[in-house]
Assembly symmetry: C2
Homo-oligomer: 343 residues x 2
DNA sequence: TCTCGATTTGACATCGATGTCAACATCGGC
DNA sequence: GCCGATGTTGACATCGATGTCAAATCGAGA
């Protein structure tokens, strides 16, 4: 019933080992023989058994993606799709594991649970990429991993990122050039280092323009629609003077802020300019469309997959051996839409 | 370096087979011996190798979840999280595979690509659960599968659903009881049978109340924010009379409709009542919060996982053997929030 | 034609678990 | 004290691929 490598070998008149060589694109197979074997594989619709493969060789053809679910948003969706697509192109499969850093021992438990899977590598997007217990356990198990935009501890492992600082700086410049002088900021998750770098970029750009950051207008947020709404709602409920622009550390919060403004009878951008970060899909289709900073999230995570698949980076890249950890920086881009205008 | 079942056996002074029995909770092991083995497993931090396991036994401890990515929304997120959680509880892992029905041969390709994984079963949420080429290929491969809310072909396989028809009927009743007589409807994906059942429930409830459905107010949609926005935008741009309430076939479209209404200077629910379906997270946190119909999506998909894991349903449940395909119907609930009121 | 070295191929062991089946231990009933 | 029935345990084969290493083949140069 089920076709094995033996069946293919028999029919092609070669040994199983030769079929294996063809499957894995190894050298030392006569082109003509290779053709024959490929034809038979096609004819029998043979699919190698992953388990046999994983058992006998070192690779599992499995990549892990660890995510923190409550913050699922456009960003997390892009991450996932990018990884999924690249894995498929390379003949790998993706195993997704949610981890809640707030649950004691969750990281250890998850790493243990995938230990039997012998993953070829793990991808850690924010905020897990800065979650120390997780990193420690992964390193202890000797697993290869790549972080996405960790924002700190840059030499610890391979990573892919954009220059968050420069991007936030540019966005702030944009608001200033529009004529804003009173600019508020909604922060991201405190433990997420990239969030801090966005704020740093904002602050520096303000200082460089000779503007002061009003601490009352710097509000906490958790990267969700809900917290963006709450932050703006709280800000707009106050009696005192208000900013003319609000820089939200991501798009979901910007969307929330737009909603909250409306609750207070304010329209973006006429009464308040609101900008985001990430270029999430919803940012394009909401009303008004959100001015934001595009991150090539899919490309970033695709590069992460490439790194894990590439034998060059396979084990502990940059840990031993003294060679520096690969660090890939991809370009960002300001996307001007209709949620920001001159005050 | 890596701990195997042999190491555990040796240290516990038993045979590997006995350790295996303990691992799989088989009978015929003296309680005391079982204790000893469990203690050693703990001590050595032993994790069974999935590949060896999958190779020698029939199970893979892997469940597949096929999704159609462009429609990722609150609904798809809930599906995924529900599956992920339940899999973890049961010691299974989830392999997610995106499929685009519009790409010729995509379904076949994906099924082939997971053929080597020997999945214990596959979960098909909408809209893939009614995508014929995919179903055909899955059945051809003899894989077990469970559909979520297929809305048609009910005896073909195991499935989990809510009574979409009754739920839409109840929502429509709710609007009528609020005093609405002119009600519009934004449809879901045409190929998605559950969408048709929602519309059917709407139509019947209208007829039962002696109200006519104005065909000009029944608008096409694709379950996305964007298409909900477009539908409402188009409707509200017209010269003629307008409905006082709009029933959107899911929450993402309701959110889009709220945005579009605002673009036309209308506020929900004062100027137009807008209701959704699904109880997506964003429905709770938007402004105004959306009145919607709660589907226990996480429970539904968790039940689907249970069915696949339960040996009772393992292979071709309901195909051969003559026993009927299991069909699980879970309860829905109207969630009244602030996007609907008396006209 | 023969030889040496490089290339191509296959025999066999191996990965780490579980299935099968036979051997052994235990127990109650006669 | 013996018997069969039941419960417990382990020896060994097996799943389907790849790694190792030796054998076979090929080709060029003498």
């Amino acid at each position: 019933m089920i076709v094995t490598i033996k069946d293919v070998a028999e029919r092609a008149g070669v040994s199983p080992k030769t079929v294996s060589r063809v499957l894995n694109n190894e050298t030392h197979v006569r082109p003509q023989l290779r053709e024959t074997v490929l034809r038979v594989i096609e004819e029998l619709n043979y699919k190698p058994n992953m388990f046999a493969r994983g058992l006998s060789s070192a690779r599992s053809y499995l990549i892990g993606l660890f995510i923190y679910d409550p913050y699922w948003s456009g960003y997390a969706t892009d991450i996932q799709l990018g990884a999924l697509r690249r894995c498929r192109e390379l003949g790998y499969h993706l195993v997704i594991e949610p981890i809640d850093p707030h649950i004691e021992g969750a990281a250890e438990q998850v790493v243990d649970s995938v230990a039997g899977l012998r993953l070829d590598g793990v991808i850690l997007p924010p905020p897990l990429c800065t979650f120390e217990p997780l990193l420690a356990r992964i390193e202890e198990m000797g697993m290869a991993y790549v972080r996405i935009s960790p924002g700190q501890d840059m030499d610890r492992s391979a990573l892919v990122e954009i220059d968050e600082y420069a991007a936030a700086h540019e966005m702030t410049r944009h608001l200033i050039e529009l004529g804003h002088r009173d600019i508020g900021f909604v922060e991201g998750i405190p433990t997420h280092a990239a969030a801090a770098r966005r704020y740093a970029g904002f602050k520096t750009a303000m200082a460089e323009a000779g503007l002061t950051v009003n601490p009352d207008w710097v509000l906490p947020g958790m990267f969700t629609f809900q917290t963006g709404f709450a932050a703006a709602d709280e800000l707009l409920s106050r009696k005192g003077p208000l900013p003319t622009a609000l820089f939200c550390a991501n798009d979901d919060m910007a969307l929330g802020a737009v909603s909250a403004a409306r609750k207070h009878g304010l329209e973006a951008p006429a009464d308040l300019s609101i900008v985001g970060f990430d270029d999430a899909p919803a940012a394009r289709f909401s009303w008004p469309p959100i001015t934001t900073m595009r991150q090539p999230v899919s490309d970033m995570v695709a590069s992460a997959v490439d790194m894990l698949v590439d034998p060059k980076y396979r084990r502990d890249a940059g840990k031993d051996g003294g060679k520096p950890a690969p660090r890939l920086q991809l370009p960002f881009a300001l996307v001007q839409r209709q949620s920001a205008a001159t005050p």
